[in-house]
Structures are given as C-alpha cells and as structure tokens.
C-alpha cells in the first residue's frame, strides 16, 4: 500500500515538474521573441526533412532484416501438400508485385517530403490536376490487379473445385481439443447426431447400440431425478430442496425428456432400413492423425460447441468447424514426417528451436527435452480459454507404416461401434487387392 502511495506521489510530482518546465520553456521562447508553436523554423523544417530520410532508411532496413531473418525461414518450410504448392507460388508472385510497389511509393513519399521541405524563398508549384497522370495510376494498378485477380481465382478454383473424393477422415472439434474418426473400408462415415453425444459416445454416432445406450443413460438420469425429488418431499407435499436447485433439477428433467423424445422422433423412428447403421461398423476413433503420403484425403469437420477453425499450417489448409453444419477440405500430403525431418533446412531450424526451447525450459525450471519437427493441427478461431492449446499431432507416413500403426493400435477394436471386432487394416488391405 505504501509503495503504491509513493508511486502515485512520484508520478504527480513528475507531472508538476513537467508543467513548471513547460512554463519556463514558454517564457524563454517569449523572451527570445519567437512566435513559437505556429511557425516551424527553418532549422526545424530541415531537421524534420532529414529525419524523414533517416526514418525511411531505418524502416526499409528493418523490413529487409526481417525478410532476411524470417522471410525464407518462417518455420513452415515448403508446403507439404499438393495444393499448398500452388498457394505458395501464388503468394510468392504477389510478393514480387507488392514489395516493389511498397518500396517505390514509400520512398517517393518520404523522398518528396525531404526534398521539398519549407524554405521561404521557394514557391510551391501550382499543380491541381493532370488527367493523363491520373489515368496512368488508375490503369496501371487496374492491369496489375487484373493479373492478380485472374491468377488468384484460377488457384482458388483449382483448389476448391477439384476436390476429388479422397479417403474421408472426420475431425470433430470441441472445447478444447479434437477427436478424429477414420471412415474405414467403405470410406463412408457412420451417421452421427449431436443429440446422441454422451460420455461414451463422444461423436454422437448413431447405431442401434448407441441409441439403446443413450435411452438407458437418459432413463437412468430421469429415474435419479425422480428419486431425488420423491425422497425430499415432506408430508405436506413441499420439497426440502432449495428453490434454485429444485428449478435446475426440473429443468434438467424436462430437457432429458425432450431429448429422448427428439431422438425417438427424428432418429430412431425415421430409420426403417437398418443398413444405414452399417457404415459406422468399421469407423475408428483415434487421438492422432496418421496420413499416407500421396493419398488424397477429404477432411470433414464438425463442431460440438462453438466455432473452431482447424488449421494445418504445413499443409496450407484450414476451414471453419461450425456447429450445425459440416464443412470439408481436401488435401493430399506429399512429404512424410520423416522426410521433412531429414531435410537439412528443417534440421538446422530445429537445432535452433531446440536451443531456444531448452533455454526457456531452464529459465522456468522445467525439464529439458529434445523437440522434433511434427506436423500439427491447431485451432485458428477464438474459442475460449484453451484456444491456444488445441493441438493434435499429425503424422504423414508410408502405407506400410500406416498399416502397422493401425494394427498395433488396439484402439481400433475397442472403439468401433459395431461391437464386432473388425481388423480394419487387414480388411482394407484385402479390399485394395
């Protein structure tokens, strides 16, 4: 408290001192006969003009330093997906157009400000307009932009319309993480509905089994609430539970009833043909994304709660995951994780990252570790407190390595919804034969 008081006093004294200094400065200016504050003196004009040049040099120097240090070494390297190369190429061409414009116009601005600073003996040129000149700088940018638009749209259309149907992988976003579901041999995801989401069925996949389980879960909770309510009632028929809690319980009770009704009406009764459920039989849920090099994938995105944005920086791919609608993005990874790690540029960069990483670890007293390059999936749309830590490892590998992962991963058996034990990789291998 005392320290705060001292700080406040110090700041106040500082400002009083400043005001006094200003008064002296104003008086001195008056004595010198300066008509201060309205007219910039010749020396000041010259100083400002020269500072313009100094600033321009520093400004350009700063940018060139940034480009040299981070431009070619941004940390994303070459695009690791087929369409990513097109994006990088387009970006490069844009930079080649933009940077000269940026340097030229800024140097004209600062250069003219320096050259034409105020001197009493000079007279400004009366030059109110010049239609030819104005036409030039309407038409030239228009041509440059026409090129940018056409080239940009060609790339955009190429990426967005040529989405050949690859292997379908679903990424389900929630606060704050991702769940991944592979569509299996039939390359079709089992139907899912948000009303079915529960602790045992995080994606809300619809199968006869999950519907039954959901009913049981709902009925149990309904019974629980019933018993709480009936056991807390006194002889006069009044509840012994606090009003607020009672309200909450009743609200939950109604909600559960409604949910059950909606599942019955919109999911259960609608399905006459049980084969609809079958596509989920071979789906598996995993906690890591494994992709096969040069295999086209179509990612489907759903969100559980708020808008998220799955962002694969190395693949130059992202699209929002919006609750209530499904979005998709197709990509073909072209470089395996191992190949990327073996790239000398990447190696050099990650040497450096390890140094910085462990320097920080030492500073904050955490254990040092060796970090390696990995593809990642992260969230790129503000989604709450854990927004900055929604990471999921992505591994690109060969078909053999992928098959091994599937086989060694006991998860696929545990998490299929069919209740049968399907060995996914074997059936898939058979299917491809």
């Amino acid at each position: 408290m005392e320290i705060k008081f001292i700080i406040i006093i110090t700041v106040a004294l500082f400002f009083i001192a400043l005001v006094q200094l200003m008064k002296i400065y104003d008086l001195a200016a008056k004595v010198r006969g300066e008509k201060s504050q309205e007219k910039v003196s010749r020396s000041e004009n010259m100083l400002m003009a020269n500072l313009m040049l100094v600033f321009m040099a520093a400004f350009f120097g700063f940018i060139i330093w940034l480009i040299a240090k981070y431009g070619s070494n941004s940390g994303l390297y070459q695009a690791a997906s087929a369409h990513g190369k097109d994006i990088d190429e387009l970006l490069m061409i844009n930079w080649y157009i933009i940077l000269p414009v940026f340097f030229i116009t800024n140097s004209l601005l600062f250069g003219f400000s320096w050259k034409y600073y105020y001197r009493e003996e000079r007279k400004a040129l009366y030059y109110p307009h010049n239609n030819k000149l104005e036409a030039v700088w309407t038409i030239v940018p228009a041509i440059a932009l026409a090129f940018i638009v056409i080239y940009g749209l060609m790339t955009w259309n190429k990426i967005m319309y040529n989405q050949e149907k690859g292997e379908i992988v679903e990424v389900y976003a929630y606060q704050f993480g991702w769940i991944v579901r592979y569509s299996g041999i039939d390359n079709t995801l089992g139907k899912a509905d948000y009303k079915m989401v529960s602790s045992t069925n995080p994606l809300g996949v619809i199968t006869q089994k999950t519907i039954k389980e959901t009913y049981i879960e709902i009925d149990q909770r309904v019974n629980d609430i019933d018993s709480i309510l009936s056991s807390n009632i006194n002889v006069e028929g009044k509840y012994l539970i606090p009003e607020a809690k009672l309200f909450k319980l009743r609200e939950e009770y109604d909600k559960l009833k409604r949910r059950k009704y909606r599942i019955e009406a919109s999911i259960d009764r609608k399905v006459n043909n049980l084969s609809v459920y079958e596509s989920s039989n071979d789906d598996i849920i995993v906690q890591e994304i494994h992709l096969v090099k040069d295999q086209p994938y179509t990612f489907k995105f759903r969100s559980k709660d708020v808008i998220h944005c799955p962002w694969f920086p190395h693949f130059r791919a992202q699209i929002n995951a919006v609750p209530g609608m499904e979005t998709s993005f197709a990509l073909t990874p072209t470089i395996t994780t191992k190949e990327m790690r073996a790239n000398p540029d990447v190696q050099k960069h990650w040497e450096n990252i390890n140094v910085i990483h462990n320097e920080r670890k030492r500073r904050i007293g955490e254990e040092e570790e060796r970090v390696l390059f990995d593809y990642v999936l992260m969230c790129n749309k503000i989604c709450g407190a854990g927004h900055s830590n929604m990471q999921l490892k992505v591994i690109v590998e060969t078909q053999n390595e992928f098959n091994q992962w599937i086989e060694n991963n006991g998860d696929n058996k545990r998490l299929t919804f069919s209740g049968q034990e399907v060995n996914w990789s074997k059936t898939k291998a058979q299917a491809s034969l």
Binding site: E38, I87, L109, Y126, Y127, E134, W137, P141, V149, A317
Partner: protein, 548 residues
C-alpha cells in the same frame, strides 16, 4: 474566452458545458471522451502484450491494475487475456476511431467548412453525444465486473458469445457489451443523419457540392456508410441478445454443452457473421475516410498547394464507399461458403485497391514540388499516408481467397489491419487534433512535443506491426494466450519480445500527447487568426471558432 461569448445570450453552466447543443462544444466533448477511451484501449494492449512478450514472467503490475481475479500472482488469466483483447479491439474500433474521430471532427468542421451556423439539429447532436457517453460508460464498466468483460473477440461470434458456459465473459460482460453497442449504434445513427442533412441543406451560398473541402466529402460519405450499415449491426446485436436471453435460436444449432444437447436448432452462426461483417467492412472505411479526408486538407495546406486531383479524390472516395458494401464476404472465405461466392468477393475486394492507389498517388503528388511545412499535423499526415500504403499492399494478399487459406486469422491479418486501419486512422486523428486544436480551444499545442510524439509513435507503430506479418507467415494464429504450447513457434520468442518492447514504449509515448493536450488547453499560447496560413474556408474565421 469572454469576448467570444459576450455577444449572445447568457447560458448556464449546464447548457453551455454539459447539455450543450453547440457543435463546437459537442466536438470537444466527443474528443475528450474518445481520448479517455483511447487511453483505456491502448493501456489494455500494453497489458496483454506483457503476457505475449514475456510468457513466463510475473508482472505484479497486472495484479494491481486488473485485480487478483484477472491476474493472480501477476500472471494474466487466459480468459481475461481474451477479455483484454476483445475490449481493446472494441474500444479502439468503435469508441476511438468511429465515435471519437467522426464525432469530433464532423461536428467541429462540417458547420465551419460549409459556412453553416450550426448542425441541422442541435438537439439530435446533443442526444447523439450523450448516448455515446452512455455507451462508453457501459463498455468501460464491463471491465469492473467479476466474471470479466466480453471475451469472444471484438467480433463476438456466437455461439461462443451466447453461453457463459463457453467462457465467463459471455455472461454479464457480454450483456453489457451488447447493450453498450446498441446504444452506440443509436448515437452513431443520430450523428450520421445529422451530418448528412447538414451537408446537403445548410451549405452557404456558392458552396456547391463540387467545391466542398475534401474533409466534408469524407465526413459525408462516412455518414452515409454508417447510416446504411450500422442498422444491420443493430439487428445482429438484437438477435444475439434474444438468443442469449429469450431462448431463440437465430445463431444456434446442434450444440452440445456439458449438460447435454441444447434445444436450439435451425439457426446458424454464419448468419451472424454475415450481419456483422455487412457492417464490419464498411466500418473500416467509416474509420479510414475521415482520417484520409483530413489528411487531404492538411497535406494541401502544409505543402502550400491545392490538393492534386480534387475530383479524382472525390471519385475514389465514392468508389471506395460503394465497394465497401459488397466485399464483406472476404472475412468469411473459410466459413465453408460456396467457392463461387468466394471468387466474387475476391474480385470486388481487389477492386478497392484501384481507388486506394489513386488516393495514395494523389497525396504523394500533392507533396511533390510543394513547400512542405513540417508542422506536427503534417508529420502525422505523412505517417498516415505511409501507413495507408504499407498496410494497403498486404491487403492485396488477404483479399485473395486462395491465399487467405494460409493467412486467415494469423498474425499476418493482425499486422495488416493494424497498419492500414489502426495506424492510418489514429495518425490521421492526431494530425486532425494538432491541426484543428486552434479551432477547438483557441490555443496551439506545443510543437516540439508534437514532433517528438510523432517520431516515437510512428517508429513504435511500425516496430510493433511489421514483425507481426512475419509471425503470420510462420503460421502463428492470432488471439493465442501463449505461443509456447507449440515448439514450432519458439523461434519467434525474441521477435515477440521486440514487439512488446515497441508496444510498451509506444503506449508510454502517448503520455507526451496527453500532457501536451491538456497543458495546451489551459496554458498553451493563444493561437493567431490563421495559424497554419490556410486559405480555404475552415481557417478564415477567427481562431477558436466562436459561437454565432
């Protein structure tokens, strides 16, 4: 001051200084409110930059300023981090650069420069200010509630902004945010209609539309943009309020919370995005045009030349104003919209670069072979034009839907819009304050302090926002509480320190301005009749624009 007022009716303190209907007093009120809000807005940015620059350090100052809920042990809470980011954005965009910039200078300059006695409706003008004041109070008040202010980013996308379960700021904080914005929109509409009516009807004899100063043209177009687009934001805010309070589901569908599936069905958050950005993009020009309009006037006055290409300047402002209504989709390329629509928005967005280029080149040609008086206002104008160019060129990258796939919502975007919208507008606003201070207060601001203020501000501004482009090229998403969760971003640790240092110095440098501003109001030297030797209509009336 006394000789200014002796020739008209006596006014009480309240009618003169508080509920004044005089455009000059209202301009001063707007300016002071905006400066106050601006101080909060930039202070917030300095606070969250501490966390970004030094993610592991504890700053007791955070705890003493924000309280132990927000920063226990001097470590900023991740929800509060988002709260600071959200309020920084909202305050700077709406309260400083919309309300503050248009409110101050439209009110001050429209009657002076078109030769009218006052605004068409003094009463509406007064109501407009007091609604602005009320909305400022509501917004600032949301910083003081326990669960924190709105935390969903300044765009407050639902469903994040709907349920307090998703983040604490979506409780009372968001309610205050929405109420504040609703009041703000009402204020902005009252002001805007008034500006339009005044410019159309109260021009003095001979002041045809094609003779209007470019400032007035800028305010005119700005007011039209505001009147056409703010109501759409109002509808978005009202629907959001209903989703939050009355159980509707305009923006909600298929949502699961920890207590199970919600009943809401059939709505879409994308609808909100469309409504929001239908204002959101014209808003950029609502912010930019007044700054560029004043820049035109000041550059021409201080270069001792008429503005180059007066008609082209008007034409380009009209073109920008029109195009700004058909480009909002470029904020939403990645919402899963039809790729064809994405292509259309890319095309319209890139068209804006043409009138913008015309404006930039006309500014430069005005300086060419001029006789440039380096007053602080002129320095700020040169800075504003530089920022307009530097931020404008990166807009070409972001407008490209294909490139947006790899740039969207990264720090590249943050760097881009802070330079083109933030820096251009704020430098233009400073230019306006230094230049028109004699008309506001009858005094002149200290010149050397103004010069120092300019150089520190522009160096720090570029120092903060240029490196952000490179963070974005490295894939770093914006609004990350900490960048240390991903080892791949570790090589940006030192760059973030650099940004934070520039940010802190830049924010502290504004103390020079605050001091200069308030010192000059009370103790500054009296301004002469025409301090900057201007020869167009605004500066001929006696200094400190008197009441009629």
């Amino acid at each position: 001051m006394s000789h200014d007022t002796h020739h008209h009716q006596k006014e009480s303190f309240i009618t003169k200084y508080i509920f004044s209907q005089d455009h000059k007093m209202i301009a001063r009120q707007y300016l002071l409110t905006a400066i106050f809000m601006g101080a909060i807005g930039i202070a917030l940015s300095a606070l969250f930059r501490l966390k970004l620059g030094w993610p592991d350090d504890k700053f007791p100052i955070l705890e003493s300023i924000l309280g132990s809920d927000a920063a226990p042990d001097g470590l900023l809470d991740s929800n509060w981090y988002l709260g600071l980011v959200t309020l920084h954005g909202t305050i700077m965009v709406f309260f400083v650069l919309t309300g503050g910039l248009s409110g101050t200078f439209s009110n001050l300059l429209i009657p002076l420069q078109i030769g009218a006695r006052d605004m068409a409706s003094g009463l509406m003008n007064m109501i407009s200010y007091w609604l602005f004041f009320l909305s400022s109070v509501l917004m600032a008040a949301s910083l003081f509630i326990e669960t924190g202010p709105a935390m969903a980013g300044w765009t407050v996308y639902p469903p994040l902004s709907v349920l307090a379960e998703f983040q604490p700021g979506s409780g009372l904080g968001m309610t205050l945010w929405l109420l504040s914005m609703t009041v703000f929109i009402a204020s902005s509409l009252l002001g805007g209609i008034n500006y339009i009516v005044t410019i159309l009807n109260l021009r003095t004899k001979g002041m045809t539309m094609t003779r209007l100063p470019l400032t007035i043209w800028a305010f005119f177009i700005t007011a039209i943009l505001g009147v056409l687009s703010f109501p759409v934001l109002l509808s978005a805010a009202v629907l959001l309020l209903m989703d939050r309070g009355f159980g509707t589901s305009f923006y909600m569908s298929d949502i699961v919370t920890s207590s199970g599936a919600l009943d809401a069905t059939g709505g879409s958050p994308i609808l909100y995005e469309h409504l929001f950005w239908f204002l959101g993009h014209p808003e950029v020009y609502i912010i930019l045009l007044p700054a560029l309009g004043m820049t035109s006037e000041i550059i021409s006055t201080c270069s001792r030349k008429p503005i180059f290409g007066y008609r082209a300047m008007i034409g380009s402002m009209l073109a920008i104003g029109f195009l700004s209504f058909i480009v909002w989709g470029h904020h939403m390329f990645l919402t899963g919209m039809n790729p064809f629509l994405g292509g259309v928005f890319t095309f319209t967005t890139l068209l804006i670069a043409i009138p913008s280029a015309v404006k930039a080149f006309n500014f430069i040609t005005t300086i060419w072979k001029g006789n440039v008086m380096m007053t602080p206002a002129m320095l700020f104008c040169i800075g504003a034009v530089s920022a307009f160019i530097s931020g404008g060129v990166t807009g070409i990258i972001l407008a490209d839907s294909a490139l947006d796939i790899s740039q969207h919502d990264t720090y590249f975007v943050v760097g881009h819009f802070h330079i083109v919208m933030g820096m251009t507008a704020i430098l233009g606003m400073f230019a306006g304050i230094y230049h028109y201070f004699p008309k506001l207060y009858g005094k002149v601001m200290n010149m050397r302090m103004g010069m120092a203020h300019f150089w520190i501000t522009i160096v720090c501004g570029y120092g903060v926002f240029l490196p952000m482009h490179f963070l974005g090229e490295g894939g770093l998403p914006r609004r990350y509480y900490e960048n240390t969760n991903f080892p791949m971003f570790d090589h940006f640790l030192d760059l973030n320190v650099l940004i934070s240092i520039f940010a802190s110095v830049g924010v502290l440098a504004q103390i020079i301005f605050f001091f200069n501003f308030f010192y000059s109001i009370f103790r500054g030297p009296k301004a002469s009749q025409n301090p900057w030797n201007a020869n167009s209509s605004r500066m001929d009336n006696s200094s400190r624009a008197c009441s009629w």
